[in-house]
């Protein structure tokens, strides 16, 4: 029993141990920020490496906690993203007074995400969700003296508290209608009655808040703009990715009998999300807000994939999140570096960027191409599989709208590329020195963008682990 517990909960236990190490470090002697950063990055690397060995599948605590190869893979993707975010934020944290606290909060949210993904019970799921969103609000406020940072944190905690209120009301109605909280037992009791549909709508809106699907997206841009860049990249990639994984598993296991009902809801939501995300992204001048709206549009594409509800759908969502981790973090890495050194965040500041910083320009360009979905990069394959999975249901209206929106998205992504390479600027951003950690993160991202697309093995592996119906 104890051995089972240690093996199955290995990844969570490692994160907990790292949190305790950092806590003790904080209480103990004065250590320089650099040493803490080196230690934290080393521990995160160890965590990532440990995720690949000695995995088993099974369940613990009366089906409260499940694990299988797909869940382990999803956790590894999140660990990888955490490592990249941590490498990128090293330069910003070096000057900060509260480095261990940042890592403790970061790892607490990661722990919450792990529990959320592994949950086999709505109680466990709820605890994981809260553990992953409450410390995140504190992280958004990490630039304590900045007005925008505190405003962003306020907006985030209010909307996430409201979202969990909606989610909980939905959970309570589901409990009333089925009499159980365990996913596997619940699936047998779901019949699609009107109370269950109402409960599902509330649950869906709770989820939609967390992944910023369109009618519930209003907090996204403000929080992204105000929060420190490291937190923004964490929010846009890791936090959303984890909720998406949990969403897919809840949707495909618990609400499987209601597939016809939620298909239509997701259809409407995904069309709205892609369209509004794209249209608002066109008019943004701040690059962080721009990336916020582009991430909303990407979530719309992921919803198209989720509507497919086949094995391909799960595979394409996990695959796309993996690619999204690489491409969005590459873009945020460059933005973080520029904003940390010069404090400039407008799109117009990037005019003539190629003249002074050719390497960074290429990194940003490849990342934007991957986000837009230009063929040699992985983003193309990701979107291709998402649309293919959506097309499996035979709803060609949805696929046509999504494909047309890909063209709109080219406009605004290429607008930035044009500013970088073609536009003249009298005061371009000066030549930046790339710190070693950030350089390492960029190399990982760029290799990831190119390799995950071209190496078919990655997709085949994810597909072989996936499930659907």
């Amino acid at each position: 029993m104890l051995i089972d517990f240690i093996i199955l909960m290995k990844q969570e236990l490692i994160i907990t141990v790292i949190i305790f190490i950092l806590l003790l470090l904080k209480i103990g002697t004065d250590i320089s920020n650099e040493k803490i950063l080196n230690l934290a990055n080393g521990l995160l690397l160890l965590n990532l490496a440990a995720g690949f060995v000695g995995n088993q599948q099974g369940m613990l605590f009366n089906e409260m906690f499940l694990t299988n190869p797909l869940i382990v893979l999803e956790k590894n993707i999140l660990s990888l993203g955490t490592l990249i975010v941590s490498l990128q934020s090293a330069d910003w944290l070096k000057k900060h007074d509260h480095v261990p606290e940042f890592y403790i909060l970061l790892l607490c949210t990661l722990l919450g995400m792990f529990f959320m993904i592994s949950a086999g019970n709505l109680l466990m799921f709820y605890i994981g969700l809260e553990l992953s969103s409450i410390p995140l609000a504190a992280m958004a406020n990490f630039d304590l003296g900045k007005r925008r940072s505190s405003e962003a944190a306020m907006k985030f905690i209010m909307s996430s508290a409201f979202a969990s209120g909606l989610l909980l009301f939905g959970i309570s109605l589901v409990y009333g209608a089925t009499g159980t909280l365990t996913f596997s037992e619940m699936a047998g009791h779901i019949t699609g009655g009107s109370l269950q549909v109402f409960a599902f709508v509330l649950l869906l809106s709770g989820f939609a808040f967390k992944i910023s699907v369109v009618p519930f997206h209003l907090w996204t841009a403000d929080v992204y703009e105000g929060a420190p860049v490291a937190v923004t990249s964490w929010l846009s990639v890791i936090s959303k990715g984890s909720v998406l994984f949990a969403f897919v598993s809840v949707l495909y296991t618990v609400f499987k009998p209601m597939a016809a009902t939620w298909y239509n809801m997701l259809f409407v939501l995904s069309v709205l999300t892609i369209l509004i995300g794209n249209l608002f992204a066109i008019r943004q001048n701040n690059i962080k807000r721009f990336l916020a709206f582009s991430s909303i549009a990407q979530i719309g594409f992921i919803l198209v994939g989720i509507t497919g509800s086949s094995q391909l759908a799960t595979a394409s969502v996990v695959y796309f999140v993996l690619i999204y981790v690489f491409s969005n973090l590459a873009a945020f890495g460059v933005v973080a570096l520029v904003s940390a050194v010069t404090g400039r965040e407008q799109v117009s500041d990037y005019k003539g960027f190629y003249k002074t910083n050719p390497v960074l320009s290429w990194v940003l360009t490849i990342a934007l191409f991957s986000l837009a979905g230009v063929p040699p990069t992985a983003g193309f394959f990701g979107k291709f599989f998402l649309l293919m999975s959506g097309a499996g249901k035979g709803n060609y209206v949805l696929i046509t709208i999504a494909a047309l929106n890909m063209i709109i998205s080219f406009y605004y992504y290429l607008r930035i590329v044009k500013a970088i390479f073609m536009d003249a600027n009298e005061q371009p951003i000066e030549r930046l020195i790339i710190p070693a950690y950030a350089k390492l993160a960029m190399v990982i991202c760029i290799v990831g963008i190119i390799v995950t697309g071209l190496a078919g093995y990655v997709y085949d592996y994810i597909h072989s682990l996936s499930f659907g119906f």
């Binding site: 605890i127 609000a137 405003e151 309570s172 409990y175 807000r289």
Partner: protein, 104 residues
């Protein structure tokens, strides 16, 4: 003496939920908004306990869930109030109308 039917209790909890939602949308003071969120969470607690007592009295799932909700709500309120205090230090106000530096 007959006991109170379940529908009455559900009516109370649903009303409480929507009162909380209304308060969240109309009030402009952050502390009051936080109180509205507590109303929403308490309506969920009533739901859980009522469903557990009336429909599924053999297991205590619902009661345990409401215990966890109370605990997590306390943690959430603690973080939210810390954020509001910091907001007050930076903006000299806890009115949401006055904290709007960022708009599209």
């Amino acid at each position: 003496m007959s006991s109170i039917p379940l529908t009455h209790i559900l009516f109370v909890s649903t009303a409480l939920f929507f009162i909380g939602m209304y308060g969240l949308f109309t009030r402009r003071n952050l502390i009051t908004m936080l109180m509205s969120i507590e109303l929403i969470l308490n309506s969920v607690n009533i739901n859980f306990v009522a469903f557990n007592k009336y429909l599924y009295p053999d297991k205590l799932n619902g009661v345990f869930f409401s215990l966890f909700i109370i605990t997590v709500a306390a943690a959430e309120a603690a973080v939210a109030i810390a954020i509001i205090i910091n907001l007050y230090r930076n903006h000299r106000s806890i009115d949401v109308e006055e904290t709007q530096e960022m708009k599209y």
